[in-house]
């Protein structure tokens, strides 16, 4: 009994997550059983088909297509958002000046902006813009919030050193924002992947490799089982990235 308690204490997170996954699959199976339509295939059929999908090279082209665009769009928006966030965090006047712009970008209906981008630019470029539009304000806000929440004592100490000096910013302020920035990354990665897939679907460009493109093609074909298969792959992909980030964060904290 004691060993069972110890086992639970050590692995309860993994056990609960596993049960959570089983619950989601059970819910899905129940839904497909109730609705009885090809639009919601059963998990069994979907996972069997997933095996076939995983044996096709086009699946990996689509996965890496989406992932590549996400990495480019995310990196660009993260770097720009963070740089602007540092600037706005250090100089309050800049922060006030940028407030309306950030609020506008954050609250713009993504789908509406997407339609305009699609009309103006190449269809295949739209996902970059959309990922940028979603991730950029989150990165900016994370950095600004992080800098704003630095302990007053540290701020006072920095005043002696010169709080707006590059050394103070890079060696003290930026490292102290890490928890907020990491939280921002966690929030925006999943969201970024979601809008990446959405924008690929809306872009409707069949020659662009991507999970969204594959989902749209599967819908048009119609091969709904493939749609679900690609959906699962997107979830797994993001889960793996978040897991990697989680361990990276843990490793950095332990040092």
């Amino acid at each position: 009994m004691k060993s069972l308690g110890a086992f639970w204490k050590q692995y309860y997170k993994v056990i609960l997550v596993t049960f959570g996954i089983v619950f989601v699959v059970a819910l899905w199976w129940f839904l497909s059983w109730i609705v009885q339509t090809a639009l919601i295939p059963s998990p069994l059929v979907t996972f069997a088909n997933l095996g076939i999908l995983l044996s096709e090279s086009s699946t990996y082209e689509n996965l890496f297509g989406s992932l590549g665009r996400l990495v480019v769009g995310f990196s660009l928006s993260f770097i720009l958002g963070s740089l602007l966030g540092i600037f706005a965090g250090v100089y309050k006047k800049v922060q006030y000046f940028l407030k309306p712009l950030m609020m506008t970008i954050r609250t713009l209906p993504t789908a509406a902006v997407m339609l305009i981008f699609l009309a103006l630019f190449r269809f295949s470029n739209a996902p970059y813009y959309i990922v940028f539009l979603v991730v950029f304000p989150i990165s900016y806000e994370s950095m600004v919030t992080g800098i704003n929440h630095i302990d007053e004592g540290i701020k006072d100490s920095l005043k002696i050193e010169g709080e707006k000096k590059l050394k103070s910013i890079l060696k003290v302020r930026v490292p102290l924002t890490a928890p907020y920035v990491v939280l921002g990354i966690f929030q925006s990665l999943g969201l970024g992947m979601k809008v990446e897939i959405m924008s690929e679907i809306l872009a409707g460009d069949g020659r662009m490799n991507g999970i969204g493109t594959a989902i749209k093609l599967a819908y048009d074909a119609p091969k709904y089982v493939d749609m679900y298969g690609y959906g699962i792959l997107a979830i797994v992909l993001i889960a793996l990235i978040e897991l990697a980030l989680y361990f990276a964060k843990k490793y950095v904290s332990s040092r």
Binding site: V35, T37, A38, L39, S58, L115, L118, A119, L120, F123, L202, A203, G204, D205, G206, R207, T213, K216, L217, Y219, D220, A221, P222
Partner: protein, 332 residues
């Protein structure tokens, strides 16, 4: 693999050059100045589906764009991103004649004259739709809807609309709309072929063609087809490159004739282009579907080299005739 539209257009250009040389020296020199105008890379956009058959030779060209979302193509009328837009002729003309923001394009060709069918789901042979049936149509206020309303005015109240032909296909293979059993679906080729041959569809073996809309339209109006997809050409580019456009239209005409008379050539071209998935992504159909609907001169895609009187159609559906300014001087 990556064929340039300009290079393809070069073939008829060479043919014309030879012909011109054979006539008189003056015609040769006049062609020489004209040939500069043929040296032009067209940017073309088309929604996936039947009209793309007219561009099968441009499959690998980056200058030829296809898009599976019709609204993305429609939005291009507000830009000058493309020299040629292929789109629903009715909606395209509306964009041109829009009083507030007239689009800078003209209609050069009608390339599809109808590929619509009314089909029943799980009904006995010979069943006809009644006012108690649930009917699903697509493209509200576009050509399919206008034709449908003219042919079936009594069924309008029990008809529901989905956005695109893909959505109509989804309804047809599942047999339901919002959980309600659907009785009839108004759909276009090649989506119909796709549904009827989809062995995993809930409605497999239960779909029956109730009406060939093209025949019904002929019976009602005496018109051999109606303006479905049209080729719209950008005015300012046409003004500078009229001969190049003329060649492009000739190339499109030839592709359509090949698609009707010799579908195997197109089938081979599609197979050369890529896998069936790649073909579907590019054209909205694959070689098997194309062969199925075009075999034996059936021309299920309803391809045509012009020959459609747009104003006669407009009159038939109760719309005001459109001005001659809408049409390019090369319109057939």
């Amino acid at each position: 693999m990556n064929t340039n539209i300009k290079k393809i257009l070069g073939l008829p250009l060479v043919a014309l050059l030879i012909t011109s040389c054979g006539v008189t020296s003056s015609s040769s020199s006049s062609f020489s100045s004209s040939s500069e105008n043929t040296d032009y890379d067209f940017s073309i956009i088309s929604p996936t589906g039947a009209p793309t058959a007219a561009f099968y030779q441009f499959a690998a060209s980056d200058d030829f764009t296809t898009n599976s979302t019709a609204t993305n193509v429609a939005a291009q009328f507000a830009t000058t991103n493309y020299d040629v837009i292929v789109f629903d002729s009715l909606k395209g003309i509306n964009q041109i004649t829009n009083a507030d923001t007239p689009s800078p394009y003209k209609l050069a060709r009608i390339i599809t004259k109808g590929n619509y069918y009314l089909v029943s789901i799980d009904k006995p042979e010979g069943s006809e739709p009644t006012s108690t049936d649930l009917i699903v149509n697509f493209g509200q206020n576009g050509t399919p809807d206008t034709i449908y309303k003219a042919l079936y005015p009594d069924l309008v109240d029990n008809t529901v609309y989905v956005t695109s032909v893909s959505d109509a296909l989804t309804v047809l293979v599942n047999g339901t709309y919002n959980q309600d059993a659907v009785d009839y679906v108004f759909i276009a080729q090649p989506a119909l072929y796709n549904a009827m041959n989809n062995t995993s569809a809930a409605t497999y073996g239960k779909i029956k063609i109730v009406a060939d809309i093209q025949q019904s339209w002929f019976d009602l109006t005496g018109q051999n087809g109606f303006p479905q997809a049209g080729v719209f050409v950008r005015n300012d580019v046409y003004a500078v490159h009229p001969i190049a456009f003329s060649y492009l239209l000739d190339t499109i005409d030839e592709a359509i004739e090949t698609s009707i008379d010799d579908p195997n050539t197109v089938v081979h071209a599609l197979n050369d282009y890529g896998t069936t998935t790649e073909q579907l992504a590019r054209f909205g159909f694959n070689s098997t579907m194309f062969a199925g609907v075009q075999a034996d001169g059936a021309n299920g895609l309803g391809l045509t080299v012009g020959g459609i009187d747009v104003n006669a159609y407009y009159t038939s559906v109760g719309l005001s005739a459109v001005s001659e300014d809408v049409f390019l001087d090369l319109y057939l």
